[in-house]
């Protein structure tokens, strides 16, 4: 959990092996056990089979999200993300969708915010191309969370070259660097 601040030293690259369940000790969140913070921060890897014939629709959504974020760069700020990766791959005849996210908040804590955002930006519609996605997800955050939890594949190993650093801290450092080189320019 985030309380491990004292051990969190960004100058020391760190790796963490994670038990099969995805957590070391069961710590209950509002919707079930919460996943731990690792040197690669919080994250999820959701893998689900897509409904047959939906691949093109999913790829199309990639473009839609690109445009959404171009128009509204702060659109996903709530989720405190570093990176999202969306992958399509085949196993035999079936196409699967992998959705990987790395972020700084415990996903469970902000579930309803995430569900509301997804609805707003059309991420929902991608999920609707997945087998088993609950039809009433919009009015039933719990069913959405259940789907995500059932399709979450916990990492068995995570690594951070600059472990535990939040996106906010990175942006702060970059802003400081920019301000500092600006100041140096002024002094020439």
């Amino acid at each position: 959990m985030s309380d491990a601040t004292k051990k969190e030293d960004w100058t020391k690259p760190a790796a963490m092996a994670i038990p099969k369940e995805g957590y070391f000790k069961v710590e209950q969140g509002r919707y079930g056990p919460t996943f731990p913070k690792t040197p690669a921060n919080y994250g999820f890897t959701i893998i689900a089979k897509i409904k047959p014939g939906r691949e093109a629709a999913i790829r199309e959504y990639g473009k839609k999200i690109e445009q959404t974020i171009r128009d509204l760069p702060d659109g996903l700020a709530v989720l405190k993300l570093h990176y999202l990766r969306w992958v399509l791959f085949d196993i035999g005849k079936d196409t699967h969708f992998m959705y990987q996210g790395i972020f700084d908040t415990d996903f469970d804590k902000y579930t309803e915010d995430a569900v509301a955002l997804f609805g707003k930006y059309g991420i929902n519609t991608v999920f609707e191309n997945l087998e088993g996605f609950p039809e009433d997800w919009k009015t039933n955050a719990q069913s959405f969370v259940k789907f995500v939890r059932e399709h979450q594949r916990p990492s068995f190993l995570e690594y951070g070259e600059y472990p535990y650093v939040s996106a906010e801290e990175i942006k702060k450092a970059l802003r400081l660097k920019a301000a500092f080189s600006d100041a140096l320019d002024q002094m020439q």
């Binding site: 309380d3 919009k138 009015t139």
Partner: protein
């Protein structure tokens, strides 16, 4: 249209009570429970009744049930199953997630509140102690008739002097910021935001997201109802005052520190509008005392620390989805006041409050789990709510300040959870429906 004549008054109005009493009840048989419910329902005032003449009334009664209570009354399994998971489990079962651990854990709770035998609460607010005494005697008579309804425990409420404004034992003016329900006829005070859709607080109405969904069944049971999270929080007044003295050299410094913990001066004046010096007239003026935001007016927390109580409990324009996280607060203080300058006397005193919302998991539990107890809320790293967070002496409180911030380490716990429960607050028709369960089934 809100059905004011079916909604229990506590959802809509705050009554001018100075005392009161909560009685926590257990039904030993369904029949006894229903008899009691039928009789007490006659005493419960609707919102319409109280709005028509709150000043003539001398007492106000509210009734609510736990999930175990609904079962004890004989509600069928299908209906029972239609209630939300967190309500079925109850507050005690969700203690770890709520932060109710260590000295706050259900095993330590007073009054049998952690027990599955807790079935109902009768809430009495009264104008004065004499009226409370009269009502208590009336209720005893009623209970004597309804054999098989037991009082697990009770709690007497007392406003703390001076009585001209509401405040808690630490001395903070309270009841300043409250969401307004659309259609209630109430005008939000400046800064309190637009009225919210009734479904955020009352079942059976559209909420901020759209038409009502996943409502408990049958509809007669849930329409005009709501949920209440009860919290009995002991306030360690001696410890709180010692802390202020330890960390503030002058009375002015101590007042400022108290204000920083809360986000408001004890007078109620908001720090955003009065950052350096108290302004009691501002604190008392409803036209001005809630008229502020954070993102524009205090983004870095130089006035109101990011971790202070009110900035956590309603981050206003700095939180996503805020309209889905609001709560109605009701309740009162209990226990005798601790005179200024007196050492702590070890007597329990505090706040016995209800947080009312349409979804416990989305509103109350989110507030507990994230706003109050997430150590990294707002990137604070190692903090929890300084007033009601689960504090074990290892956390800190940071006060942004130029040129360097002030950091207080080893924050003590100023409050302890002494009890709690989740209640379903039925509408008046629903109370009668519950009281008549089993009739006609034979």
């Amino acid at each position: 249209m809100l059905e004011f004549d079916d909604i229990q008054h506590i959802l809509i109005t705050r009554v001018p009570a100075l005392t009161g009493r909560y009685e926590f009840l257990s039904f030993k048989s369904a029949a006894a429970g229903r008899d009691w419910l039928a009789a007490i329902s006659e005493k419960v005032q609707s919102a319409a009744q109280v709005r028509a003449g709150p000043t003539q009334d001398a007492r106000w009664v509210t009734v609510a049930c736990t999930w175990n209570g609904l079962r004890a009354l004989g509600l069928d399994e299908k209906s029972l199953a239609s209630f939300p998971e967190e309500f079925k489990q109850g507050m005690a079962a969700r203690a770890e997630m709520l932060g109710d651990t260590g000295p706050n854990a259900p095993a330590q709770w007073a009054g049998g509140l952690a027990s599955t035998d807790l079935h109902a609460i009768a809430i009495l607010f009264a104008k004065d102690a004499a009226e409370r005494g009269r009502c208590q005697a009336e209720h005893e008579k009623l209970l004597a008739k309804a054999k098989g309804v037991e009082v697990l425990s009770s709690l007497d409420l007392e406003a703390t002097p001076p009585f001209d404004y509401a405040h808690d034992h630490f001395g903070y003016r309270d009841r300043l910021s409250q969401p307004v329900i659309e259609g209630s006829g109430e005008e939000p005070t400046p800064g309190s935001g637009a009225p919210l859709k009734p479904g955020e607080f009352i079942l059976g109405y559209p909420d901020e997201d759209g038409p009502p969904a996943n409502q408990p069944q049958p509809a007669v049971l849930s329409k005009n109802g709501s949920y209440m999270a009860y919290r009995r929080l002991e306030e360690h007044v001696g410890k709180f005052r010692d802390f202020l003295r330890e960390h503030g050299k002058t009375p002015e410094e101590q007042e400022l520190l108290a204000a920083k913990l809360m986000g408001r001066w004890r007078s109620g004046a908001p720090l955003v509008l009065a950052p350096d010096k108290d302004d009691p007239a501002l604190g008392a003026d409803p036209k001005r005392n809630n008229d502020f935001n954070y993102k524009e007016m205090d983004p870095h927390g130089y006035a109101v620390p990011l971790g202070s109580h009110i900035r956590r409990m309603n981050p206003r324009d700095t939180a996503a989805n805020i309209n889905r996280r609001r709560m109605i607060r009701r309740g009162a203080t209990y226990g005798p006041p601790l005179p200024e300058g007196a050492p702590d006397d070890g007597v329990e005193r505090g706040i016995a409050a209800f947080v009312i919302c349409a979804s416990l998991v989305r509103q109350f539990e989110f507030a507990q789990n994230v706003w109050i107890n997430d150590r990294n809320f707002h990137e604070l790293g190692n903090e929890r709510d300084p007033i009601i967070g689960t504090q074990d002496g290892t956390l800190e409180f940071k006060i942004p300040k130029r040129p360097v911030r002030r950091k207080i380490t080893g924050l003590p716990a100023f409050t302890t959870v002494r009890g709690g429960a989740y209640f379903f607050l039925p509408g008046l028709k629903a109370l009668r429906y519950l009281a008549s369960l089993g009739k006609g089934a034979a």
